[in-house]
């Protein structure tokens, strides 16, 4: 166990050495910190209305002003980050776990199963995400779980395909043949020998996917398909700000800036992670 810890430490050190990686690490760190401790950070209750002080600009009382119902924008931004991560993390990790499992089965299993799973992936991919989201929302109603489900379902094929391709390349490699000739079972080959070869690539893919998912959640909320109104979300903030842009620009800033920052932060982190984890580059160090 201690070995994998030191490896994780090595990866973090490697990312921190890269200036962009360090920036990504800091941004993601701040976002995650704010999301975890949102309850203690927010100066006001993010859903408490105060009609008397509506649509204010930034002041010492309200750092980013207030919205049309007098809610504190800064508090809503912080709480919105929590919602964004609550959607992004389970969706991405769920999609990765399911995609990885199905992809490895497709890559290692018999040809007919491979064809069946690929058909399944292609079917999912052929739906435009927003259309799919509309259909699902119409069916089970807008909520945090719906967004997680939609995002997860639409990203499974991406992970599945990558995992399948990796498995296909590995299954004919000599060390897998060597494993088979040593009497290893299919479960052992997939779990002990293939998984460590594939997981790095997928982890990087996941890190790069998180900003997409955050943007997707914001987009769905912007369209009114995401989380329900009183719940703060960056997309919902942006939507309110969009209709009230003539009265105050601060809502758009409050909704847009965190989306941009989160996207940049996770992308930097993901790219830097890819460089550090890539086994070809790692061997040279």
């Amino acid at each position: 166990m201690e070995k994998s810890h030191s490896e994780l430490g090595q990866i973090i050190v490697g990312v921190a050495r890269d200036p962009l990686g360090l920036m990504g690490l800091i941004i993601v760190g701040v976002i995650v910190f704010c999301a975890i401790f949102a309850y203690w950070i927010v100066p006001y209750d993010p859903i408490a209305m105060d009609i008397k002080s509506r649509l204010q600009g930034p002041s010492s009382a309200h750092l980013l002003g207030t919205d049309q119902l007098g809610r504190d924008t800064f508090s809503r931004v912080i709480a919105g980050g929590q919602v964004a991560l609550k959607v992004a993390l389970p969706a991405v990790f769920g999609a990765m776990a399911i995609g990885l499992t199905l992809g490895m089965i497709a890559g290692y299993g018999p040809k007919w199963l491979d064809n069946l799973l690929m058909l399944f992936f292609d079917t999912i991919r052929s739906f435009p995400t927003v259309m799919f989201a509309l259909a699902v929302v119409a069916l089970i109603g807008p909520s945090l779980q719906t967004v997680v489900f939609v995002v997860m379902a639409t990203s499974i094929p991406t992970y599945g395909r990558v995992a399948r391709t990796q498995t296909l390349t590995l299954r004919n490699s000599e060390f897998i043949l060597a494993e088979r000739s040593m009497g290893a079972s299919m479960a052992r080959i997939l779990g002990v020998h293939m998984l460590p070869n594939i997981i790095g690539v997928l982890a990087v893919l996941a890190a790069m996917d998180i900003p997409t998912v955050i943007a997707l959640e914001a987009g769905l909320s912007f369209l009114g398909l995401g989380v329900k109104p009183p719940t703060p979300s960056w997309g919902a903030l942006l939507k309110d700000g969009y209709s009230l842009i003539r009265q105050t620009p601060w809502l758009v800033v409050g909704g847009g800036l965190p989306i941009i920052l989160a996207t940049l932060g996770f992308t930097f982190l993901g790219e830097s992670l890819r460089d550090v984890v890539d086994p070809k580059l790692r061997k040279q160090r």
């Binding site: 070995k3 490699s173 000599e174 060390f175 043949l177 060597a178 494993e179 088979r180 000739s181 040593m182 009497g183 290893a184 079972s185 052992r188 002990v192 020998h193 460590p196 070869n197 790095g200 086994p279 061997k283």
Partner: protein, 326 residues
């Protein structure tokens, strides 16, 4: 008569391809006795690899076992269940592959991999690691405990092949298959590996089926040799007999072409003219006929049988037909 460990009995294997059935192995018959080193020699594409993957039953999906049996300790492996085959692999039969740069998982340490292949053992992790270190020591890896924590890319090719041998011998198999284990290594390392194999064979008393196209190595290491050509056994016998009293023109030409046997400087190394016949569309008669300088009329029409010429020496050539004792 010593105990027979592995008997290949009239084995014929086809590959189903778009061009029709490729007759990769035809009527292969030979034995490997307990504790014996048998060499299989032949040029590329003669079916050596098909033979070993058939023994382990790790063949490509388009493989058809047309005829014959592979008996290991008397049991026919071609009829054995997949479960039984898996129990044999890595326990009773193990294999060392050709390219040591490819045979280890690049993302796991040598120690993790050596632990993993002991998955059948009920020993504690510490005992398994100690056993792994002992095996690495036995193949001459210095400081084995520290080396267990390293990844495959931190070892040289020769070391990796020795590690592969250590892993193959870990379960003390009865039969070790070595598939051209020295082809990917340079000449100095080749000698090292061969010497190490000889020592280990004496220590573990396992039989070795040694596949190579390097005649010098075969002569050095093996007790008996099987010469294969285009999917068939053309000659088999004791090493000394094969090298000094070969009875098949192909074997003789092969020995003549070995650079180790050439005494005079020549501009061009000798070769056997002609090409291996198309295995999907075999000509009648002797398969070596087109490239043989002693071919007779009979060679074009009849396939020469693998005759026993004297105790333990077989050859498939019409030239010997007066000498046949049986």
């Amino acid at each position: 008569m010593t105990d027979t460990l592995l008997e290949i009995d009239h084995l014929s294997v086809d590959y189903e391809t778009g061009r029709g059935d490729l007759k990769a192995l035809r009527d292969i018959t030979f034995d490997v006795n307990k504790g014996e080193i048998v060499g299989i020699v032949g040029e590329s594409g003669c079916g050596k690899s098909t033979l070993i993957s058939s023994i382990l039953r790790l063949t490509a999906p388009n493989t058809r076992f047309r005829e014959g049996e592979i008996r290991f300790k008397g049991q026919d492996l071609l009829q054995a269940s997949e479960r039984h085959m898996r129990d044999l692999r890595g326990a009773d039969i193990s294999i060392v592959f050709q390219d040591p740069m490819q045979t280890h998982n690049p993302v796991l340490t040598i120690g993790q991999q050596m632990l993993d292949i002991q998955h059948r053992s009920k020993q504690s992790k510490a005992d398994k690691l100690a056993h792994a270190a002992k095996m690495l020591g036995a193949v001459g890896i210095p400081d084995p405990e520290a080396r267990l924590k390293q990844y495959p890319h931190e070892f040289s090719g020769g070391m990796r092949q020795r590690i592969a041998i250590a892993m193959a011998l870990m379960s003390e198999p009865d039969l070790l298959i070595a598939d051209e284990p020295t082809t990917a290594l340079d000449a100095t390392l080749e000698v090292q590996i061969i010497e190490r194999l000889q020592e280990l064979q004496r220590e573990f008393h396992c039989a070795i089926l040694f596949i190579s196209h390097h005649l010098g190595v075969i002569a050095e290491l093996c007790d008996r040799v099987v010469v294969m050509y285009a999917g068939a056994v053309v000659e088999s016998g004791e090493v000394r007999e094969i090298f000094h009293n070969s009875k098949h023109p192909y074997t003789r030409r092969l020995i003549e072409c070995d650079p180790g046997h050439i005494k005079e400087r020549a501009r061009v190394l000798p070769t056997i003219p002609g090409e291996v016949p198309d295995l999907a569309n075999l000509p009648g008669g002797c398969i070596f006929r087109d490239r043989c300088d002693q071919a007779m009329a009979r060679c074009a029409t009849e396939v020469p049988p693998l005759d026993q010429l004297k105790e333990g020496h077989h050859a498939a050539c019409w030239l010997n037909h007066e000498e046949v004792t049986t």
